[in-house]
Symmetry: C2
Subunit: 273 residues, 2 copies
């Protein structure tokens, strides 16, 4: 999916919501455990109920790997279901991969070509040649960790490298990589003021923003400082939506939570136009 | 496996060789492609032929993920084969994972409990709470990327954070994490002099060293600067060993290459004792 297609979906749906599919068998409704593939059944119901309010879905691969082969099968079925039924949806493999060049190429092939994801999250520590193999896929997006929403973000990401914090150095440096127009960035919502400084470095890029809601970030503040002319934000919510209820009505409850966020987003989008 | 058991194996075998199982179907002998599971057949033959010269095996997960479900099955069979037949071997999942706390817990469970690896490589960018869930597994080791052997290592890892390079900051900081005694570190062999400075910060930890041979590092130099009283090094070789021949004799050719390295290692070990 191209950036233009994503922007057009955002404008059509008046939503820049990404739903995180972090599926934990201990947290989904018990009656689903009788199904042949409970994870896929859960995802399918959640996707069908929430897709009108969301522009992106983001399974975190850890939750699937934790169930071994079965988990990978559920992941495959989920991405196939999305691609077949909702081709207008932007899909993100939240995998945080990154390795030396020929190995990163393997990951890129696995997630972009074989699984068919539109994008993948990657970690910057190993530098340029660990990321460029992902960027070489010109119809895909590569989402680089910049400033994450967890406490450990302050261990290294906010340390000063010369005059600027490491995460800003990552942003600056990555602009020089080949096909950097295919980059998006993970920026946590925990400190909304950071977005203003980030926008000076990367005014046009899309930001994938975890940490709104459950982790304490505020949607209005993030938009105030982080939004650009093309919106430029994908706000992720996982637990707040997918675990809204453990009852028979779990999908409807998820839809209600997704709709609440979409209405907030619509208000913000209408307000600036 | 405990560190003491690993050290005792190293002394018994006079080897600190780790064989990287980075299996690419385009590079293995063609006649194996007729087998039901060519990757596992290849690994099994390589392991059987080289285990007397090696103390550790390291499949890089990217190479298995690239083949989807089939690849994961091959990975499962490989680790099971190692654990059942060679329990004295130290196993490393070269996965370079790392995520927020509850997600890292998932990865730790997947690789340590379900797959049964002794250790996993992890990336430091997300800080303490992304690594401690791995360290919580007290019978396992967590191998933190410090200084990698690729060109991109100079993008961020060697940038100065205050008075010291980021990779040294990672080493220092990680010493304060809970259960840090379970940490090992990835340190590439491309600049052997770095090992002297690294040993000042972490004198006792094991280092997993890629980049000897194919990537230009020199074994003697690495040992000169990096070895400690417990040896403290695992030297990885992948392509140089496993792709030594594409013929019927591929396993014997791999054994010869592994033995060459083991003999070099024995000479070094005998020299210092």
């Amino acid at each position: 999916m191209t950036t233009d297609q994503l922007i057009s979906e955002i404008k059509k749906k008046k939503s820049f919501l990404c739903v995180g599919l972090d599926v934990d068998l201990d947290k989904i409704p018990e009656f689903l455990l009788k199904e042949e593939d409970p994870i896929f059944s859960f995802n399918k119901a959640i996707i069908d109920a929430t897709h009108q309010f969301a522009v992106a879905y983001k399974p975190n691969t850890a939750f699937y790997e934790a169930y071994g082969l079965k988990g990978w099968k559920s992941l495959e079925k989920t991405i196939n279901y999305l691609n077949e039924n909702y081709p207008e949806i932007f899909t993100i493999a939240d995998a945080k991969r990154g390795d030396i060049g020929n190995t990163s190429s393997r990951y890129a092939k696995a997630f972009f070509e074989d699984l068919g994801f539109d994008s993948i999250t990657v970690a910057p520590y190993m530098g340029k040649d660990s990321i460029e193999p992902f960027l070489a896929f010109e119809n895909n997006h590569t989402i680089l960790l910049a400033l994450t929403s967890n406490e450990g973000a302050f261990d290294f990401q906010t340390q000063k490298v010369g005059n600027q914090e490491l995460y800003k150095n990552v942003l600056e440096t990555s602009k020089n990589w080949k096909n950097s127009q295919n980059l998006m960035y993970v920026v946590g919502a925990t400190k909304a003021e950071y977005f203003a400084e980030i926008r000076i470095i990367i005014p046009n890029s899309f930001l994938l923003v975890p940490g709104v809601g459950a982790q304490g970030g505020n949607l209005n503040d993030v938009c105030k400082y982080g939004m650009n002319e093309d919106v430029g934000l994908l706000i992720n919510s996982s637990r707040g939506i997918i675990y809204a209820s453990k009852g028979k009505n779990f999908a409807e409850a998820a839809a209600l939570e997704a709709e609440k966020l979409q209405i907030e987003m619509k208000t913000i989008l209408d307000g600036i136009r």
